[in-house]
Amino acid sequence: MKGRRDTLVVVPAYNEEPSVADVVSAIRKQGWDVLVIDDGSHDGTSRAARGAGAVVATHATNLGVGGALRTGFKYAVTHGYSRVVQCDADGQHRSELIDYLVSQAVNSNADLVIGSRFLADVEGSMIVAPHRRMAMRWLSWVLLRKTGVRVHDTTSGFKCVSEPLLSEFAESFPAHFLGDTFESCFVAARNGYLVIEVPVVMDERAHGFTSASSSKSVQYIVRSVAAAAFGLTFRIRPKSSTHETAAQ
């Protein structure tokens, strides 16, 4: 039971009515506070999440995962949480592993802990489509070249963000397509925050379909590489300057 009171589990959800209640119940059973961001769903996502006991923030229109997460980060900072665990609403992420992510963050002092499905040598973990896997390998290489940080699962949505990075993300986290994955790792590592990757097992989606496709993978690679090469990423303060501010 590490850091239960300081940690908020943020669940971005878009049209996840069939699965969100089970996800919320499982997380609450572990003793975590849960915030569901209903990102402009057309179904009963908000009602289902609220019924399962989550606090719900409802976006009037769809902003994408990045926009949903920024709302979650802002809520966490405003309410005094020092850590946020991001968890999908489709049942891919196992709630019992949240404790493991938080423990890794606490023990290693990491600002960003990424749960990787590629480090887990376990039967039954989810299978990633070849085009998506190729895109991830490419981005992993770019990240290593540009920051010296090796992350295999660059599009993982199972992450733990701790202060002071949490406050920085609350201010400037990007809403554009998949800016919440590779770009956030890149920006954090580039600004001196400690980024680590730990093995986790992920399951197949309980309901619905993934938004990833071949064309989106190509779009993602082009956009991410261009952003990294030309410095078009979102901006946060370097970790060293957040320490100075805290000292004052």
Binding site: V56, A57, T58, A60, T61, G67, T71, K74, H79
Partner: protein, 123 residues
Amino acid sequence: MFALSIAFKQAVVMAAGGVGLVAIAVFLAKRQLITVRYALGWSAIGLTVIVGSLLGSLVPRLGRVAGMTPTAVLLALAVIILVMISIQLSISVSGLQRQIRDLVEQLALSDANRDGVRNGRRK
């Protein structure tokens, strides 16, 4: 003589285009399809085109200076103006997207705060 008549025709087309632009801008503003700010901007461009067409020798003179035909000068000016307007509109749309995002976010946070208070779980 032939060159002069081409210049005259171009002046007439320019003037007609300018008048048309002002008329469309006023029409759209009256129907409240664009704001007065944008109607004034488009009208200013239309009036500039009309004034340019009245100064008949301006375009051929510019063409001689730039080493271009009068038609090429007109096309280049039109392209430059349209590109500038597109860039300005991109800036406006980006700003609006940011504002919408902030507004959606604020509403959602108020929603969550109410939810938290109701559940008695506010930290």
